[in-house]
Assembly symmetry: C2
Homo-oligomer: 68 residues x 2
Amino acid sequence: MAKNLKLKAARAGHDLSQQELAELVGVSRQTINAIEKGEYNPTIKLCRAICRALGTTLNDLFWEENEE
Amino acid sequence: MAKNLKLKAARAGHDLSQQELAELVGVSRQTINAIEKGEYNPTIKLCRAICRALGTTLNDLFWEENEE
DNA sequence: TATTTTTGTAAAATATACTTGACATATCGG
DNA sequence: CCGATATGTCAAGTATATTTTACAAAAATA
């Protein structure tokens, strides 16, 4: 899986650490880290929570036009 | 969780049965059924596969403006 | 009506998302 | 340089997404 650099950028744009974002959305820091590193697929519920915390939508952070 | 009627409508708009959509995206029929019924949260990867099969994007089928 | 297709549902098993705790490294401000 | 904060990673455990098999009922179609 590919790294999620859009998420990393959006988080940085809000001046949030992985830890802080994790607390905002109610998951562990390791989970945020793994998602940014592309190590596993989050559930849609978690994706929505992340998007709300960062003021974005699903298409902004989790949509990829070209994928397998 | 709420039923996903947008998914149900998009699937109907492509004249696909739950079974056919399931085959297109590579999951079981019960998984599609459970998602439409709102019984569990799919992974983002599966959501993307469903969107591609139906010619939509994540925001079309899996974004909700107002949620808890 | 009879037949077929589609949908709903349930229980047991498997795969994997996510947690917890812990440690190492990097970075940045004092 | 030193302490604090941020990130990367690993291993073991828990929660839950997904599969498989199976059966019943609804809906479409002949």
